[in-house]
Point group: C3
Chain length 349, copies 3
């Protein structure tokens, strides 16, 4: 997508100094600018770059007074940083709104309804009895099973797999190749050493404003629902097992995993490569450090945990430090022992 500087200035209610007809097709940091890019200057620390930047345009604050000649076109606004953010959002919104209509071949089963202004990419598959809201985008090569509901403005990226009976809210984004609603990992051990599959008949419910990264997996419940509450943000390669519930606005970074039937509270922050055991409850506002392993319920809200097994962060750091004190302790002990021996020797004599 391309804009002229003139269109951008209008969008941001800004004033142009320089060529207003230049076209902009991308954004860049001021120090990494290339022709066709727009940058911003808010922090005076970066001012030197504005005299050398390759960007075609730079958004600056109203009070910016150049000390040398500048090649780029300038757009003066009240707050350069905010204006830049607004521009990026607008850009992404328009970009995403470009896609509508149905590409062929694509597949849609009987009794499935698709709302207005939707996009259905080529080789996308929608099963039976699905209800797809308005302005939903279903990218190419996706699979939706039967009886699926997707709310307005949600975006299903290429290669996403959504199993039967999944419910997805409004304004959700599911990135490429993520799998929603595969069977929970449930097997009953038999007397002969084999395992019998426990039927997994529940579903996954994803509320509004949820974002899930690429190549993640969210299993369906054995019965009932695996639930991802409103506003949750999940990164790439994350595993959410059956019957888990993730509370409102909780954030989970890449490669973390939550085992079956665990309930994670609201507003938690779970860093990368964290493992959480099954059948526990984690209080609201809990923070869990990268690579931690959490094996017990956390009842108190607002704790910061770290380590495997995860403990209170302060305690964890103290424990790490303790190990480093062992050599000194050993030295002191040796010293005492040698004195003791001298003392013993003296006493004996």
């Amino acid at each position: 997508m391309k804009f002229t500087v003139s269109e951008i200035a209008q969008m941001l209610d800004g004033t142009i100094v320089g060529d207003e007809k230049i076209t902009i097709n991308s954004a860049a940091k001021i120090e990494e600018g290339r022709p066709g890019c727009i940058s911003f200057l808010a922090n005076s620390k970066y001012e030197p770059f504005i005299y050398t930047t390759q960007s075609s345009a730079v958004i600056v604050n109203h009070d910016f007074a150049p000390k040398k000649e500048i090649a780029a076109t300038l757009i003066y606004v009240n707050n350069a940083y905010t204006a830049f953010t607004i521009l990026l959002e607008e850009y992404q919104k328009r970009l995403s709104n470009e896609k509508t209509g149905v590409e062929q071949p694509s597949f849609i089963g009987e009794n499935s309804q698709v709302g207005q202004h939707c996009y259905r990419g080529a080789f996308s598959y929608i099963g039976k009895n699905c209800s797809i809201g308005e302005s939903v985008k279903i990218y190419p090569n996706t699979y939706l099973g039967d009886n699926i509901t997707i709310g307005d403005y949600s975006v299903i990226h290429p290669g996403v797999r959504i199993y039967d009976n999944t419910v997805i809210g409004k304004n959700c984004t599911i990135f490429a190749n993520t799998v929603i609603g595969g069977d929970g990992f449930g097997f009953a051990p038999q007397a002969d050493g084999t395992y019998k599959t426990i039927p997994q008949l529940g579903n996954v419910v994803i509320e509004d404003d949820v974002s899930i990264g690429s190549n993640s997996t969210i299993d369906c419940a054995t019965m009932g629902s695996t639930i991802i509450r409103k506003g949750v943000k999940i990164d790439n390669l994350v595993q959410i097992a059956h019957n888990v519930e993730i509370g409102k606005n909780t954030v989970i970074a890449a490669q973390s995993g939550v085992s079956g039937s665990t309930t994670v509270g609201e507003q938690c922050i779970i860093a990368g490569q964290v493992g959480i055991t099954g059948h526990i409850t984690i209080a609201n506002n809990t923070k869990i450090g990268a690579q931690s392993g959490l094996g017990k319920s956390i009842k108190k809200e607002g704790l910061s945990l770290s380590g495997s097994p995860a403990r209170d962060l302060t305690e964890h750091l103290r424990s790490m430090a303790l190990v480093r004190r062992v050599p000194a302790i050993e030295e002191r002990l040796k010293d005492l022992e040698s004195k003791r021996e001298i003392s013993d020797f003296q006493e004996e004599n």
Copy 2:
């Protein structure tokens, strides 16, 4: 899929009290019931819920005597829990048997054979010289390369990728977006710092009754076969490297990884996020705790291991406890030192 209470009662050899024409389309825990659901009551602890449940029908034991009025239709059987399990299995079986035939467009290469009662979904791709057994289900958007064999009743979920020469047994289930038979990670370092790719010409052999979760990866062997033995159950996001062999009925939980040329024994249980190094052998019946890192062969059968590096569980727990004793040790040492100083002082005087 829908059943009437009457059909269900017949299936379970049960007796109906209430409306036998109600239709059931899902199952739920008695405390989470909704209209259209069937639940069961086996444990008297849950009896209060039967008087308030929203489920349309409840399976109960023959000796159940209601203390109040119940809105739901009751189905009396000998063992409510067993009957419920049978029902779920039957439900899942029928559901899965619903899919047969070929959806279009789909692709099948020359000399590939597909058995009777199979399902081939839209946008599924089967290469050349493949041999697909009876009642196999190949969901939409899957890819099968050339010379692949799949046994009867196996199910290949959407987005699964199966590379050339893979052999899959009977009654296997491969969940969405899992990749079977990608190249092993083998590169020979060269004098100039670059790496030369080592050709990976082997394959993957998966025996009968194996289940593999979503978004997992099983690499082909350099030569010979990467082998997953009969009855193995693998969860989501698991990595099995080239030339690995996983023994019969072994279970591997989510996000674990087994490095190249390692042999895992039979009936092992490997928890989540475990890492196992390459070129080792693990004895039968080994249990490995979550997030453990196993770096050495395990020769003795039946051990429980934990930690990174993984050790005998008891030893691991003792070692974790030791660290916690360091502060106390330091205190006692301080105490001794202060007495020593007093004593030195006394001796000096």
Copy 3:
């Protein structure tokens, strides 16, 4: 693909002893040979197997003198191991060159160019304004967005998802279901507890000779580029976050993750399940052991690190050993304390 022994001998400049018309369709270790396979014998330790191997042909050194009768056809060459490697490479090259042309249905958007001798598999999707080099293979069920560049001889395996504006060099291989260019995980916390999505407008740049395994994820930059330098080898299920740069010839094993804005040097070796924090810099030639967690920049080149938090390997091993010394320290302390008590008792009396 099949070769006669005669064709193979010609390729390797070898001399045949035995039936030159036998056809070979696979390779195997000499001890695992099957009819139709070719093996090699370089190390005399394996000589006993040549008398019993089921392989149809064996490549041997010129100086090999059989002590018994051999059923397999022999191909004499100067260096059996090198010859075997050359054969495997040639085999894989020819195999991969077999695929050309366009299978239908497949999708290509306006203004996209595809070079000569390319393969585009069925159900593959190419968006608008893409530039695909010569002899590129795009396997079935892949998705390429808009404005994507792919260099000559690169191979895009089934199910790979490549987002808009990605640049991929020559001779790259991207294995099945890997996702390139999904949004970086960037959310700005708001006063009401929700998170606002930070637009991710950058791209991913992958230089020449890069290999990326299956089910991995490489996020696009917020602005600018996430960069994978020439010769990098990445395994399965690896996470590379936004604005990361991986230096030339660095190798990253399965299930490892690199957080946002981190720069990894050249010729580094990162083992499996490693976690690397964001916004740090790692010097060239750094080696990081399996399951390590790296939280700080590494400025000195050539270090070997291990543990979580990762430290110098020697230091890490010493620290592991220290914990094991705590019981002995406690014993010695107890001993001293008991003597002290005796001594106290003596002094008091």
